[in-house]
């Protein structure tokens, strides 16, 4: 009775249009979930133990030198009228501090992650585009111009660059021996090679004609490291480290590595003296300053939290799998015979 011609409007018979696409239909069946939980749990416990052991093997030495307390050697440097203040911090290391040792400076209560702080720079200046030297981005306000002259590098970040400097001496037989610092490669490769570029001028200084250095700076950008042209201007490693702003108000930044000479294998046990050229004011906003010595493993620096968290989650998974097993045994899904 049905005529063939009547199928003209018939929808096409494909798996897609008929919603019959082959499909994998996973179900949270006990056979998968319980062993899965057990496995994940065990794996996490394993990782956690590993992390914890690794983390414990890492040595960290942290020294606060803010100088808020009168006992602190840097206390006198916190007086406002001091300039070029130098203070010395002495400490001793009981066992060999295995190298390579990294030397960090740290700030707290310092809001590099503030939105207005964060946007206060001009990327075009920093890739060496001199046309922006003359007219810095308005984001740099209020560090866009000074005395009518454009600031290069402009903006709050550059302006507030950390300018304490450190020298480490090992005291060997009462004599101070300078521990050599390696300042190369402390910034990201991409920052050094791509994100920040010096203008193509020789000498570099010429590019900065008719510009001002940032107000807080003691020397202009092209004099940051006069000894090494590849560490000068915008590609100065300290500058790069500073410009990579921190995510959180308490942070530390890499200052130097200790990889050379006698200290290649680390800092031997003994007494050390850290000479600090104390310039950077933090007291006004209740910040603190500190330095940190640390070595690293494959997973970076010391990190107790990660290991513990893995252990906790791992054990919870194992416990859950047991609970699930009990529940499953008791309320098992009615199955067909």
């Amino acid at each position: 009775m049905k005529e063939e011609g009547n199928y003209a409007n018939r929808p096409s018979n494909t798996a897609f249009t008929q919603q019959r696409l082959p499909a994998w239909q996973p179900m949270l069946s006990a056979g998968v979930v319980i062993p899965g939980f057990l496995l994940i749990g065990l794996a996490f416990i394993g990782i956690g133990v590993g992390l914890l052991i690794t983390s414990r093997s890492i040595q960290v030495l942290e020294l606060d030198y803010t100088g808020t307390e009168t006992s602190s050697p840097c206390y006198q440097c916190t007086m406002s009228n001091q300039s070029n203040c130098v203070c010395k911090l002495s400490f001793s290391i009981g066992t060999l501090f295995k190298g390579p040792v990294f030397f960090y400076y740290g700030l707290t209560n310092y809001f590099q992650n503030q939105r207005k702080y964060g946007v206060s720079k001009d990327f075009n200046q920093l890739i060496g585009d001199v046309s922006y030297f003359k007219s810095p981005s308005s984001d740099c306000q209020p560090y866009q111009r000074v005395n009518g002259k454009p600031i290069v590098p402009c903006g709050a970040i550059a302006n507030s660059m950390f300018n304490d400097t450190f020298k480490l001496y090992q005291i060997i037989n009462g004599k101070e021996e300078l521990v050599p610092f390696d300042g190369k490669g402390i910034a990201w490769w991409t920052d050094y090679n791509i994100k920040y570029r010096n203008p193509d001028y020789t000498p570099l200084k010429n590019a900065f004609n008719d510009t001002e250095k940032p107000v807080f700076w003691t020397k202009p950008a092209y004099e940051l490291d006069t000894s090494d042209a590849s560490n000068n201007g915008f590609i100065n490693q300290d500058f790069l480290v500073w410009m990579r702003r921190a995510a959180l108000p308490n942070f530390r930044k890499l200052y130097r590595r200790i990889t050379e000479g006698n200290y290649k294998d680390g800092l031997p046990a003994g007494n050390y003296s850290l000479e600090i050229s104390y310039n950077y004011p933090v007291i006004s906003f209740e910040g603190t300053k500190k330095v940190t010595f640390s070595n690293v493993s494959w997973m970076g620096g010391q990190n107790e939290f990660l290991g513990i968290a893995y252990l906790v989650i791992g054990s919870m998974c194992v416990v859950m799998s047991v609970v699930m097993l009990i529940v499953y045994a008791k309320f098992r899904f009615p199955e067909e015979d």
Binding site: A23, T190, N250, R252
Partner: protein, 1357 residues
């Protein structure tokens, strides 16, 4: 014209009420006319005159835009959406540098995307509207311009034009019929597009214009029509024609409305009165109101809440900002001075508030709305594409006409269904018959074997090839020459009022008034008794190949009270025989008692047929001697000429001769249900969907269908029938019904445990019959009668079988419904109706259909679905939450108004249980996940706020923020929203209980919403604090610290994307290839895009935007970052996983169970047989076997929509073309009288006195009064008496007293009788015990009210 003053409202309150309403509308209309504009005046053939009034032209515009206006209008409309405006507002905020915490493109990209997607969609929709408008507007019609007929496009037709319509053409506008090619200015129309009725209706021009047959005369016609202004009342029109200084009243009977189709009429001319948007069709369609789903509304509420939440977050952070700026920021000024304009912390906090509003706005992502639309669109396509909803017979696929309601299909609780054309096909088939005690037509062959269809052609070249019959025995019996069988079919070929048309030799077309008759005559035709042609005095048949001409002596026509019709014929041998067919209940009384055995056998057969839901008729004959005939003929003539109570007298005469008949047999006609209707209804009720049938049909028909589609079953506790005509009686009946229901259910509970009450069923049936008797024709005092008919059911024996299905059904008729829907009755009606399992409303008007739907919507807070196929269902379809149109035979109005359309009622189960359920499920899962992922995404900013000085610093890269919602996470969830299936489609049909969560709104509600945003917030906490804890001190393996902002951003973003991807993977239950591609693809695209964005190339070009250069590689190469991400993922996902597993084990949902079983079965590779666990089986099994034939109550009779009057039409010969009449002489007595009689009946149908006294006057002077001159209605329609006729009818009032005597019931009918208007009331009110005149019930304005006389006689037997 219609004077109603002093009408006896006590007796006819219902109808009176209606008429008053009508009248006031008419008057009101006139009043309004005067106020707003002048009365509509139309002068024929005078465009200049008509142009003064600036009537709407016939051009219809349903489109919204044109090319120029599209952009501004569409944008304007789009920005009326709160969400869009909100995002625009955000965009403006972002342009303020002090506030802007994000680049402008993070908002504008998604906004532009959303706007353009919507615009494209709107444009496409409008394009199709343009197309259809054009198609309609460019239809051609012939317009009479300056005396000649010219083809004009529809849109150029003006008010006042005279247009010519040809057979089978659509009427272009609302026109006044002027003249036709048929005699007496008659024409036939089909109004399917308008009111959904497929039977033909007659319209007649007023007599003065009927003579204007040729264009020349018409061109000079300069009559002026004054009429009511445009309105949407399909069944009324009042106006006056002024022509040649005379007034002629115009009624609906003279109008052809736009959308009608001219049938059986060669041509006709009409004067355009209303055009284009003023036509009743357009006035009825109106603008579709925008439907929203409940999920939509919930979503909007939630979005508002989220806005509130957003403001709170912003407030908290702003306070934080104020404190921070005061305590810390103030001191930190050495490194970060405050901006000069922002020099105090309060102002800073204010700005920070807005900044946070910007960055937190992603909790309500703009992509939410567009994603929802996309998913719905997809679901709509799945509906369109579904082959199982494709009807191959009519080559129609299902169509989702709106794309916004899909998930609501999964929540339907009430279905309102039309009957004719929706449940039934409106096709009658001759299904079974019982001849001389032998039943034929049973399918006795072994089950599963398809019975072969009989081939009639060898026996009978005239057979109708479409006729189906399967029982060979009957054909054998005919061939053998069994005299009973022959007589049986002879009767069927003679006793009817069918007209035949023989276009060419052997190609017969029957035109039957009711499909039942057509089916019977066709059956006779195929079994060798072919009805060939008729003249007023003869019937020519071909009996077993031989042409026989019978002379037709009389037709004893059908009416609703007689419930039978007879013909008296003289065969060529000269023997006179009366053939009678009718309701078994009436016929049995009139049989010769000699053959009791046959009677009882036949009666058994009738019972069987009725139990199968078939419509039965009993057939009988009687031989008349010449003397008997002469005597009767004389008395008939006398009765016919009687001046008073003619109807009664005729009936009595008829009754006299229809006695002592011999039973021939019985026929059973199937009012063919659409395929699968009972199964669908059973399935839907198992899914807890309540089905109400709202039909314009008569109660008996409706109940019949209710039984055959298993809405009503004999197992039902009780079928309650409400048919009162007054507020009091309806209220009383409703109360009684409730009491009974309470009593019965209480009784049933008490009766539990008592087994095997053999009589229970019997008693129940007996009582039901009594109940059903309420509305029967003899119910002049029905209210008083019924208690006595039905003794109260003894409390205890209430049946046991019912304790399983303690179900009630309610049948309510339109006039009772009118009362029940009044404000103070609503509640009462609702509480009764909702306690019933099935509700049937019969004789309801389109408006009432909508009212019922509104009632449920208002009081039940349930999702309603209306399904219908005719234009009379449009209002209901529009007012229900979801309107479904059956694209059947009855025009396309319903389809056009509907949200979904398909060809078969049974597709409803798939639409709801499969598509609706899936859509709901998918949408809910989609929304849950969507809110989750955005909270997880956005709230990280909130936590970060506490560590960045509340400075509105974002955690992520701005590109990540832009792309997160539109690229990284959109497709997997879209794929889930599009393709997810918890259980396959056949399972959802097997377990209708799976539909319940949707009705109870379990999958997405406020609680679920809170759960998912809590999960989202939890995730955001984890995603912020885990990296915070890990990274703050962490360094890369080369000693460089990891705690820089960019590394932190990359780590958090990566963790976020991974967590939400794992989450979507968990949520996806149905991994098609798309899901795989999208989930993996999204993850892949995240990394790819991130690496690309952090690449040198982009940075070199735009250093300002892409300053994340190198972050991705620097960060993601660090093992500690991956350990962090893994940790965060585990912390986010493990609890969810555990919770889900435990929930699955401890509190499994039905869908889980089904899914589980399904999977286990698949795994075990069991044959997918019926071995499925019996535990849930019960919930799902569909009723087996169509017919629970046991003890069926008898629902037989002339239930079909048969109308009186055609017998007379035939014997008069008026409706026969001269060609077909041949030389047949006009039966003198009838030659002119039939139409007058009809008119009389129409005008004064009920009070028999009136018609009686009118008729002789008119028929005697038959020639003198132009027979059609003033009849405002011929076969149907309005009751207005022509104005100038009043003088003629006035004398009639003199005989009012006779009338009163005649009609004992009501003396108050006296005044009524004089005013023809009242007649319908009297009729409708059912006061008269012997209503005769019931022509064209459907067409009359109070038509539905006529039914009550016809009801349920068989139940009372």
């Amino acid at each position: 014209m219609t004077v109603l003053k002093g009408a006896p409202g006590i007796w006819f309150p219902v109808v009176l009420h209606l008429h008053k309403k009508k009248k006031s509308q008419c008057d009101g209309g006139e009043a309004r006319k005067r106020r707003t504009e002048e009365e509509r005046k139309v002068k024929a053939n005078d465009r200049e005159y008509n142009e003064k009034f600036q009537y709407a032209s016939n051009c219809i515009v349903t489109s919204k835009y044109n090319i120029v206006t599209f952009l501004p209008v569409n944008l304007f409309e789009q920005f009326q959406e709160v969400a869009n405006t909100y995002f625009l507002f955000l965009l403006i905020l972002q342009l303020i540098p002090q506030i802007s915490s994000l680049s402008w493109f993070t908002t504008i990209v998604p906004l532009a995307l959303v706007l353009s997607i919507t615009a494209v969609k709107d444009a496409t929709d409008d394009y199709f509207r343009h197309k259809s408008d054009n198609q309609v507007n460019n239809r051609e019609s012939q317009v009479l311009i300056r005396g000649s007929l010219q083809n004009e496009k529809w849109m150029n037709v003006r008010v006042g034009d005279i247009i010519k319509l040809e057979n089978n053409q659509f009427v272009a506008a609302d026109v006044l019929l002027l003249s036709t090619s048929e005699p007496h200015g008659l024409c036939y129309i089909e109004t399917a597009e308008l009111d959904g009725e497929t039977n033909m209706k007659v319209r007649q021009s007023i007599s003065v214009t009927a003579e204007l047959c040729d264009p020349n005369h018409l061109a000079s016609f300069d009559g002026e029509v004054m009429c009511e202004p445009p309105n949407n009342k399909l069944d009324r029109f009042c106006g006056t024609l002024y022509w040649r200084e005379k007034k002629y009243p115009l009624t609906n009977q003279n109008m052809l409305l736009r959308g009608c189709v001219l049938r059986n009429t060669e041509a006709c001319y009409g004067l355009v009165i209303f055009a284009g948007p003023d036509t009743k069709l357009m006035q009825n369609s109106g603008r579709t109101k925008f439907k929203r789903t409940s999920i939509d509304r919930l979503m909007n509420t939630l979005v508002l809440w989220i806005f509130g939440f957003l403001v709170c977050m912003g407030g908290i952070l702003a306070v934080g900002n104020a404190i921070w700026e005061k305590e810390v920021g103030f001191l930190f000024q050495s490194f970060l001075p405050w901006d000069p304009p922002v020099d105090n912390f309060l102002f800073s906090a204010f700005l920070s508030f807005w900044s946070y509003v910007i960055i937190l706005n992603t909790v309500v992502p703009i992509s939410l709305y567009v994603s929802v639309e996309v998913i719905r669109l997809g679901h709509s396509y799945f509906i369109n594409w579904d082959q199982q909803m494709f009807c191959s017979q009519c080559n129609t696929a299902a169509e989702a006409r709106t794309t916004t309601l899909n998930e609501e299909l999964g929540q339907v609780e009430y279905i309102f269904s039309d009957k004719t054309g929706t449940l039934t096909q409106n096709i009658m088939t001759f299904n079974k018959c019982s001849i001389n005690g032998q039943s034929y037509g049973e399918l006795t062959g072994p089950l599963g074997i398809q019975p072969t269809r009989l081939n009639f052609t060898p026996l009978n070249p005239l057979a109708d090839p479409n006729f189906c019959f399967y029982d060979e025995k009957l054909l054998e019996s005919v061939k053998v020459g069994d005299s009973h069988t022959h007589e049986f079919f002879r009767l069927l070929s003679l006793c009817h009022t069918v007209m035949s048309e023989e276009k060419s030799e052997g190609e017969l077309v029957y035109k039957a008034q009711s499909p039942d008759e057509g089916a019977l005559v066709t059956a006779a035709r195929n079994f060798g008794f072919v009805f060939r042609s008729r003249t007023p005095g003869t019937i020519t048949t071909t009996e077993m190949g031989q042409t026989v001409t019978y002379s037709l002596l009389a037709i004893l026509d059908f009416n609703n009270i007689r419930k039978r019709m007879s013909v008296i014929v003289r065969n060529p041998e000269g023997r006179i025989r009366l053939y009678c067919k009718g309701a078994d209940t009436v016929l049995v009384e009139r049989l010769q008692p000699c053959n009791q055995e046959l009677i009882s056998i036949t009666s058994d057969h009738l019972n069987e047929y009725a139990a199968d839901g078939l419509r039965t008729l009993a057939l009988a004959y009687r031989d008349l001697s010449e003397e008997e005939w002469e005597a009767w003929s004389e008395s008939h003539r006398f009765a016919d000429k009687a001046t008073d109570c003619r109807e009664d007298r005729l009936a009595a005469t008829y009754d006299k001769i229809e006695q002592e008949m011999l039973l021939l047999g019985a026929t059973a006609i199937e009012d063919k249900l659409q395929e699968g209707v009972p199964e669908t209804i059973a399935l839907l009720s198992l899914a807890n969907i309540k089905i109400w049938v709202l039909t314009g049909d008569k109660q008996e028909t409706a109940v019949n269908i209710g039984y055959s589609c298993k809405m009503l079953t004999d197992d039902m506790t009780e079928v309650i029938i409400i048919s009162g005509h007054t507020v009091q009686s309806v209220r009383h009946e409703l109360r009684r019904a409730r009491e009974r229901m309470l009593a019965l259910s209480r009784a049933r509970e008490e009766g539990k445990g008592i087994e095997g009450w053999a009589e229970a069923g019997f008693m129940r049936n007996g009582c039901k019959e009594g109940q059903a008797g309420d509305g029967t024709a003899d119910g002049g005092g029905e209210g008083a009668r019924k208690p006595s008919q039905c003794p109260p059911i003894p409390p205890i024996p209430s049946n046991l079988m019912d304790s399983i299905s303690g179900e009630f059904a309610l049948v309510i008729s339109g006039h009772s419904l009118a009362h029940a829907l009044e404000p103070d009755m609503e509640e009462e009606f609702l509480s009764t109706a909702c306690a019933c399992k099935a509700v049937i409303c019969c004789r309801v008007t389109p408006l009432q259909k909508a009212q019922v739907v509104e009632l449920i919507k208002k009081h039940k807070k349930a999702v309603t679905l209306a399904v219908g196929d005719g234009a009379n269902d449009v209002s209901m379809i529009k007012s229900a939450h979801i309107g479904v149109g059956i694209s059947g035979q009855e025009g396309i109005q319903a389809v056009l108004a509907s949200d979904y359309s398909f060809a078969q009622f049974r597709f409803l189960q798939r639409l709801l249980l499969v598509h609706g359920r899936w859509s709901y499920l998918r949408m809910c899962r989609f929304l849950c996940y969507f809110f989750y992922k955005n909270f997880a995404f956005t709230m990280v900013h909130f936590w970060f706020g506490f560590f960045c000085g509340f400075s509105a610093q974002t955690v992520y890269d701005q590109f990540f923020i832009t792309l997160y919602n539109i690229v990284y996470t959109s497709l997997p969830v879209l794929a889930m929203g599009m393709f997810d299936q918890d259980v396959p489609d056949q399972r959802s049909l097997e377990y209708p209980k799976l539909y319940e969560p949707g009705q109870l709104n379990l999958l997405f509600n406020k609680r679920e919403f809170f759960i998912c945003i809590t999960q989202g917030i939890y995730t955001s906490v984890v995603l912020f604090f885990v990296p915070y804890a890990v990274l703050s001190d962490a360094t890369q393996s080369n000693g460089v610290p990891l705690a820089d902002y960019q590394s932190f951003a990359v780590t958090t973003a990566t963790a976020l994307v991974i967590v939400v991807s794992v989450q979507i993977a968990l949520d996806t239950g149905f991994w098609t290839v798309f899901n795989h591609v999208f989930v993996w693809g999204s993850l892949g695209s995240f990394f790819t895009i991130m690496f690309a964005l952090h690449s040198q190339t982009l940075f070199r070009n735009l250093p300002n935007q892409f300053h994340f250069v190198g972050s991705a590689q620097n960060t993601l190469l660090q093992p500690v970052v991956w350990l962090t991400i893994a940790l965060a993922t585990a912390i986010c996902i493990v609890p969810v996983l555990a919770f889900r597993f435990l929930k699955l084990d401890l509190k499994p949902q039905l869908s889980d169970t089904v899914r589980y079983t399904q999977l286990v079965r698949q795994k075990r590779r069991k044959p997918a047989g019926r071995s499925m666990g019996g535990v849930w089986r019960g919930t799902g099994s569909v009723s087996e076997g169509r017919l629970g034939a046991r003890g069926g109550s008898r629902r037989s009779g002339y239930a079909f929509a048969h109308q009186e009057g055609f017998g007379e039409l035939i014997t008069s010969g008026k409706n026969m073309r001269l060609s077909s009449l041949g030389l047949a002489s006009f039966a003198s007595r009838h030659s002119t009288g039939w139409i007058d009689t009809l008119r009389r009946k129409k005008n004064n149908p009920t009070p028999p006195g009136t018609s009686g006294e009118n008729s002789p006057a008119l028929s005697i002077v038959s020639g003198s009064v132009p027979p059609l001159s003033n009849s405002s209605s011929v076969l149907g329609g309005s009751q207005e008496t022509p104005i100038e006729e009043e003088a003629v009818t006035a004398p009639a009032q003199n005989t009012d007293s006779d009338l009163a005597v005649c009609k004992q019931t009501s003396t108050s009918a006296v005044s009524e009788a004089a005013k023809p208007h009242g007649s319908a009331q009297a009729n409708a009110a059912g006061v008269s015990t012997s209503i005769r005149g019931r022509p064209h019930v459907k067409d009359s304005s109070g038509g539905w009210a006529h039914s009550l006389g016809t009801v349920q006689v068989s139940h009372c037997l």
